[in-house]
Structures are given as structure tokens and as C-alpha cells.
């Protein structure tokens, strides 16, 4: 198990370094930051001076190296616009994004598990078809559209829930549900296919022939084994929810890191965008690593499949 963990951690570090380097290259290629910051009425000399001040005249690899050394020491740089440390800007907004992502994940797991199990118990029936249709619709509907529809119905017409902001827990209800809707279909489909496969296994037939109650066969023997791939997908989904809440945050005016990143992309605040890239890459990598380790712990056969 230890060597498996060591190999996975090394692989994760390689993935992280590659992601940050590629991201750094892409950001540098997206426009001349000095020209953008200097403003329209800046002269060529002003732009050159600013480029020098910001260190943008240094070779690309050197800049990446300096950034990497800083990042390893917890210094992700300073926003070019607000002049504040990027880590501070992130820390201020991380709570809102985490709240939103975790609430959405909980909702999506709570909804997709019974949906997937129910569909697997009656495969290819009209119930299964209906659930597949709902899942497909959930994935197909754009989150900004669904968000506005929810706002109009629950916020404006019924006035049950607040429309925008992040003042109270109630403010997170609508955005969490909207975000969850996009995560439910994949999870529900995976639970369904996993359950169908497991339910056809010999050990399930054995369990049934032993006269075990149906719910016990389902929960203890079938669902537990069907959950292995679901754990991996859930981890990836959390990464997606953390990095992909930009639109939902904009629609519901939640000032999370998605919004911060969106604004930073618009105005070319590279240190903030690079930090977001690290955050998303780190989230995915760590969550995938944790899922791999959990799966290997649950199923020892995986440890030998390097």
C-alpha cells in the first residue's frame, strides 16, 4: 500500500507541475499585460517601464521559476490591480465557493444514489427510461438558464428564497441545487450501471439463495461494491464543482473564487488567474489521489495494478 501511495503521489506532483507550467505559458500568450495595465493613453515608453517594473521583460522560464519558488513558499504573488496578496484574495472568497460546492455535492450524492439504485432494479422499464430522460435533461440544461428560471419562480413569484448574495445559508439553497443538477446525471448513471453489473454477479445470487433480506443484499453486498467507481467520480465532481461554479456564482451574485477568476481573466490580472489554475489543478489532483487511495484500500487488487 505504501509503495502504491508513493507512486500515486509522485504522479500527482508531475501532473500538478505540468498543469501549472502549461497554464503559465497560455496566460503569457494571451496578451501583453503591461500594455493592458498601462491604459490606452500610455506611451510605448510607459509600457516598457511597466513591463520592467513587473518583471515581464525577463525570460519566460525564469519567470515561471520565480513564480514556482514563491508558490512553494505559499506566496502566489500580488494582484496587479488591487495590490493585495493573491492568497488573501482567495482566502476571502474560498468559504463561499467551498460552501456552494460541498452543498451541491451533498445534494447530488443524496439524489443520485437512490435514483441510480432504483433505475438498476428495474432496468429498461419505463421508470428507468424516465430517470434517464431526467438525467439527460439535467445535464443538457445550461446552469445560467436554470438559475434564472429558479430565480424567477422561487425568488420573484413565490418569494420563498433570496435571489442573490451570500448573507445567509438560505442564499446558498438555489445556487447549490442548480449546481447539483449538472452533477447528478453522471453520478446516477454510474450508480445504475454499477448496480446492474454487481446484481448479476454470482455472490449476489449466493446471498439471495441464502435467504438474506432484499435490502441487506442491496445495501451490504451490491451497493458497497458498486460504489467503487462512484467514489472516484464523486472526487472528480467536487473538483469540477469547485472550478466550475463561475456561472452559478455570477447568476446568484456570490462572490466566490469563480467570480474572482472571471473578473481577473477579463482584466488580465495574471497572478490571480494563475493561482486559480493552481487551485483547480490541486483540487483535482488531491481529490483524485484520495479517491485512488480509498479505492486501493477498499479493493486490495487495485494496489497490484500500477
Amino acid at each position: 500500500m505504501l509503495s502504491f501511495a508513493r507512486d500515486r503521489i509522485l504522479l500527482s506532483v508531475c501532473v500538478l507541475l505540468t498543469a501549472t507550467f502549461v497554464g503559465f505559458l497560455l496566460l503569457q500568450a494571451s496578451g501583453d499585460l503591461a500594455a493592458s495595465l498601462a491604459g490606452e493613453n500610455a506611451s510605448a515608453d510607459d509600457i516598457a517601464q511597466l513591463r520592467q517594473q513587473l518583471g515581464l521583460d525577463q525570460p519566460l522560464l525564469l519567470r515561471y521559476w520565480h513564480w514556482l519558488i514563491g508558490a512553494l513558499q505559499g506566496d502566489l504573488g500580488t494582484s496587479y490591480f488591487t495590490r493585495e496578496p493573491v492568497t488573501g484574495l482567495f482566502a476571502e472568497r474560498l468559504g463561499a465557493t467551498l460552501t456552494l460546492a460541498i452543498a451541491a455535492l451533498v445534494i447530488s450524492v443524496v439524489v443520485s444514489l437512490p435514483l441510480g439504485v432504483f433505475a438498476a432494479l428495474k432496468p429498461n422499464s419505463w421508470v428507468d427510461g424516465l430517470l434517464s430522460l431526467l438525467a439527460l435533461s439535467g445535464q443538457a440544461v445550461p446552469s445560467f438558464w436554470l438559475g434564472l428560471i429558479f430565480i424567477s419562480f422561487f425568488g420573484v413569484t413565490l418569494r420563498w428564497l433570496p435571489i442573490s448574495g451570500s448573507d445567509t445559508a438560505m442564499h446558498f439553497v438555489l445556487p447549490s441545487v442548480v449546481l447539483a443538477v449538472s452533477a447528478i446525471p453522471a453520478l446516477a448513471r454510474l450508480v445504475r450501471s454499477g448496480m446492474i453489473e454487481v446484481l448479476s454477479q454470482d455472490y449476489i445470487r449466493t446471498a439471495r439463495s441464502k435467504g438474506l433480506p432484499r435490502h441487506r443484499v442491496l445495501m451490504r453486498h451490491a451497493l458497497r461494491n458498486a460504489l467503487l467507481p462512484v467514489i472516484s467520480l464523486t472526487a472528480v465532481q467536487l473538483g469540477a464543482l469547485l472550478g466550475g461554479s463561475v456561472i452559478v456564482e455570477a447568476v446568484f451574485a456570490i462572490d466566490g473564487i469563480g467570480q474572482l477568476t472571471f473578473r481577473s481573466i477579463q482584466r488580465g490580472d495574471f497572478p490571480v488567474v494563475q493561482a486559480m489554475l493552481v487551485f483547480v489543478a490541486l483540487s483535482y489532483t488531491v481529490l483524485t489521489l484520495v479517491a485512488d487511495l480509498m479505492n486501493a484500500w477498499i479493493d486490495p487488487r487495485l494496489r497490484s495494478r500500477k
Binding site: D32, T82, S164, A253
Partner: protein, 510 residues
């Protein structure tokens, strides 16, 4: 397009639900004005950065030496009660006595000297510091309530800066905490004080009970809460449900949708911003737009009224000269102008040897997609095939500033700082990399006008420049947008003469 249709569908549902929901409920009872902004501002003071959003807060929290009257644009006494131009580069101010900052610190000449000292120290890195404050050479205290400011060269638009960006900070508080303190815990003499903020999303301001009420009255609303709501559809939902009383960043399609909604008022005001079609006019082989007749043909081929009124707003100004008529010295009687005459455009293309047209890349900021596509359609009628390259603002700006544009849609200016035509002509016709006209005479005229105090002489210089620009059709002036303000009908608000609203002037009806 799908995105647009889905959004439109969602908006329709939103509006139906808002009608069902009944009239909005303003915050009259709690005496709190809820305001929606679309963007986060980097700083809530206008010295560190210069944007419409920072000016919105700056006007509430701070005061300037002069105040630009929101109905007429006239410069009125504010922290300075009187001023005298000793010569073209020296102005002496008499300061108002008895004014205190929101922290109790008294206002006097030391504050003015201290603030100007910071402006003159280029190491402070304020945005566009050199451009805006680089001409200030000296500030002297003449007495406890009088100061003298000296400029390097005559600067006829200095008053615009004094009335917008140059707010006066308290010397002791700022010296103790550093000037960046005003980004988070600002202290001014203004009608409202910031009491709390969640940066980027929520700002709460409270009326200053000791406001001196000079050019503007004491505030009548107890509290102002400003919230950042990026999505305009969400702003509409908040307005419809009574969560917001005042919004000002809605586009024309949003405003059309709001028409007829109970409890909502829409007011239009002018802006100082203008948009034009920029062309690479250098006379070199392979550049058709180096030919003045081709540029004239382009000017004749664009049906500006239809595009502007159809895509921007029926209230937007269709420009014939390259400036917004709200700007000082924007002369609207310039000849020649170019009416929409397609046949004439085709004849000019033929006589220039381009009857079969040519291909050209048009770069624009991605928010201008509809205008770019409309221009693409119009110029196709004279066989000019535009290849659109729409990109985020920083990328567009980079390419344009580095003089890599063949054709581009350029938008420029906002607020009091753009109240003079020098703000645009002095940048796009000054011989720098943003000058695609290459006309040394225009560059000389605009340079001279920027340092000429005599109004008649300035008008003559700008008349020369604007006439030459039209004669040579160096650019195609397009439109001046409008500023729209949406309020709940409990709110009393008059649109300002330009896009520089002062929320301290808002009151409740009745």
C-alpha cells in the same frame, strides 16, 4: 445565438413572474437605498484607480476642491470656496473652514498639500498617475485655509481632474496608516461614510450627520448599500422583487424588457464616451485604406442611424464628428459629413480601383460583437470582406496599442475626466502608437490645444483637427452611448448631465 435565445427565454419567464408578483417594495421604511453594480471596483477611492465605479464611491465618501454640478456641468465651490488663476499655470484656492473628516480630523490646507504631495510622488503607482498628475509641479500652503498649485504647462482641463479624481485625503490618518488604507477603510469629508464592506460584493454606507453641505445638500437617505450583481438578469429580478432600488448598468435589451413593469422607472442620461471605426490609413502598397476615397466609401456605406438605434439604443447619439457632443469643444457643425449613400460608396470604390473590394481584419472587444457583425454586413455591400476577430478587452487593447490593427472598433472615455474633447483627440491623433491617421498637422493642433487656455484659440485648433479628420475620413465616428438608470418608483433621481451620477443626491419621493 443559442445562448442569447436561452437568456431571452429566461428573461421572459422572469418578467412574467415579476408581473405576477406585483409591484416592487422599496426600502423606504428602513431608509436604505439598495444599489446594484455590475462590476467589482479595485479601489473605492478614485485616486488609486480611475473608473466609473471608483468614482461612484469616491463621490459619496470624499469631496473634491471643486464640484461638477450634475445638471449643468458647471464647476461649483466645494472644499475650495473660491479660486483664482494667477497665470496660466498657477491657481490659488481659498479653502472652506469648519469642515471635519468622518473621523473627526479637521480639514485645512495641510490636507490639500499632503494629498497633492502624494499625487506628485510617482513612486506611489496610482493608475495613470503620470498622465493625470504629471503636470503638477508644486503645491504650497499660503495659510491655514489657502493653497497655491503650480502646473508645469498650462492645462485647460485641470478643473475636470480637480472635480473628479483628486479627492482630498486627511493628512494625519493617511500618514499614520498609509494611503492604501483608503482602499479598505476610507475616511473623507463626503456625505456618506463607509461603515462595512465585503470586498467585491457588498458595501454599506451611512449618512454623514456633520456633512457641510456646500455645493450639494446634506444627504436625505440614511443608508446606502451597494451590492455587486454581475448578471443583469439577476439585477432585474432583484428590482422586480424589491431587493434593489437603483441599478445603472443595464443594457438596452434589459431596459426594453423592463418597460411596463409596475413600480419601476427608467431614466436616460448622456455619457461622454464615444465609439469610432479606426482604420490603418498609412499610404503603402497593399493597404487599400491608405486611399482616402476608399475610406470615404466606407463612411458612406454604413447606415449608422439604423445600426446605432437598432443595436445600441434609440436614445444613443449618432456621431458625425469624432467626439461625443457632450464633450467640451466637440463641434457638431463640421463639414464634410458622410450620409448613408450606397451608390456613392460604390462609385468611390470603383474610382479608387477597388470595385471588387478587398479583405480586411477587424479586431474588436468581444462585447462589441453585434456592432462588428453589423459593420461586416454593411461593408459587404461594397465588396469589403471583414474578417472579424473578437477578443477579450486586454488582448484587444494590447493589439491596438501596439499598432497592429488594420481596422478596429474603439470606445473611449467616461465621466468628468472625458468632458473635454482633448481626452480622445489627444490620445488617438497625437503621433503615438494609437494614432492610425499619421497626420502631423492634426497632432500639432491637438498638442497645442491641450496647453492653450484661450477658449477661442482652443476652438479654432479643434475645428481644424475635426475638419481634417472628416475631410480625410481617417475614422468613421459611430455613436455616443446613453446611460440608463433604473429605479424603484419610490426613488427620486434626476439623470446627471453625463455618466457621473452622485448617489448622495438621491432621495425618497414624498
Amino acid at each position: 445565438m443559442l445562448h442569447l435565445n436561452l437568456k431571452t427565454g429566461a428573461l421572459a419567464a422572469l418578467l412574467c413572474s415579476s408581473v405576477l408578483a406585483g409591484p416592487a417594495l422599496a426600502d423606504l421604511a428602513s431608509d436604505q437605498l439598495d444599489v446594484a453594480m455590475s462590476r467589482e471596483t479595485d479601489f473605492i477611492d478614485p485616486i488609486h484607480t480611475s473608473s466609473a465605479d471608483s468614482h461612484l464611491f469616491g463621490t459619496l465618501i470624499f469631496d473634491t476642491l471643486m464640484y461638477a454640478d450634475r445638471e449643468t456641468g458647471e464647476m461649483l465651490p466645494s472644499l475650495a470656496t473660491d479660486w483664482t488663476w494667477v497665470d496660466d499655470t498657477t491657481v490659488e484656492f481659498t479653502l472652506r473652514e469648519g469642515v471635519t473628516y468622518q473621523n473627526g480630523e479637521p480639514f485645512n490646507a495641510d490636507d490639500v498639500v499632503y494629498t497633492f504631495g502624494l499625487l506628485m510622488d510617482m513612486s506611489n503607482g496610482f493608475r495613470q498617475q503620470e498622465q493625470d498628475f504629471g503636470n503638477i509641479t508644486e503645491v504650497e500652503k499660503l495659510g491655514d485655509y489657502s493653497v497655491r498649485i503650480t502646473l508645469g504647462e498650462p492645462e485647460p482641463v485641470f478643473a475636470n481632474l480637480l472635480a473628479s479624481r483628486i479627492v482630498i485625503w486627511p493628512d494625519q490618518y493617511t500618514a499614520e496608516h498609509g494611503h492604501l488604507i483608503h482602499a479598505t477603510e476610507p475616511v473623507g469629508t463626503g456625505p456618506y461614510a463607509l461603515v462595512s464592506m465585503t470586498r467585491g460584493s457588498d458595501y454599506m454606507l451611512e449618512a454623514n450627520p456633520d456633512y457641510f453641505a456646500g455645493a450639494r445638500p446634506a444627504p436625505s437617505i440614511g443608508n446606502i448599500r451597494v451590492r455587486v450583481i454581475p448578471e443583469t438578469q439577476t439585477q432585474i429580478a432583484e428590482i422586480a422583487s424589491g431587493g434593489i432600488d437603483f441599478a445603472m448598468n443595464l443594457n438596452d435589451s434589459d431596459l426594453l424588457a423592463l418597460q411596463g413593469m409596475p413600480g419601476i422607472d427608467v431614466t436616460y442620461g448622456q455619457t461622454t464616451r464615444s465609439y469610432f471605426l479606426s482604420m490603418e490609413t498609412q499610404q503603402e502598397e497593399g493597404n487599400p485604406m491608405g486611399n482616402a476615397d476608399v475610406r470615404r466609401a466606407i463612411s458612406h456605406a454604413i447606415n449608422k442611424p439604423d445600426i446605432v438605434h437598432g443595436l445600441i439604443s434609440p436614445e444613443a447619439a449618432v456621431l458625425q464628428t469624432n467626439c461625443n457632443p457632450t464633450q467640451n469643444y466637440c463641434l457638431t457643425d463640421i463639414e464634410p459629413t458622410y450620409a448613408y449613400e450606397l451608390e456613392k460608396a460604390r462609385e468611390l470604390m470603383e474610382s479608387a480601383g477597388y470595385a471588387d473590394g478587398f479583405e480586411v481584419d477587424l479586431i474588436a472587444e468581444s462585447g462589441l460583437r453585434s456592432i462588428a457583425e453589423a459593420l461586416q454586413g454593411e461593408l459587404a455591400k461594397i465588396n469589403i470582406r471583414l474578417d472579424l476577430d473578437l477578443k477579450p478587452l486586454p488582448a484587444w487593447r494590447t493589439e491596438y496599442i501596439q499598432h497592429e490593427s488594420e481596422m478596429s472598433i474603439v470606445g473611449w472615455g467616461n465621466g468628468v475626466s472625458a468632458l473635454d474633447v482633448s481626452n480622445s483627440l489627444g490620445i488617438f491623433f497625437n503621433g503615438s502608437s494609437t494614432d492610425y491617421a499619421y497626420d502631423p498637422e492634426i497632432a500639432a493642433w491637438t498638442a497645442e490645444a491641450m496647453h492653450t487656455m484661450d477658449p477661442a484659440k482652443r476652438e479654432e485648433l479643434y475645428r481644424n483637427a475635426l475638419t481634417r479628420i472628416n475631410e480625410e475620413a481617417y475614422v468613421v465616428p459611430l455613436y455616443g452611448p446613453v446611460a440608463a438608470y433604473v429605479t424603484s418608483d419610490d426613488v427620486m433621481f434626476e439623470a446627471p448631465f453625463i455618466d457621473f451620477p452622485d448617489l448622495s443626491l438621491v432621495s425618497w419621493k414624498g
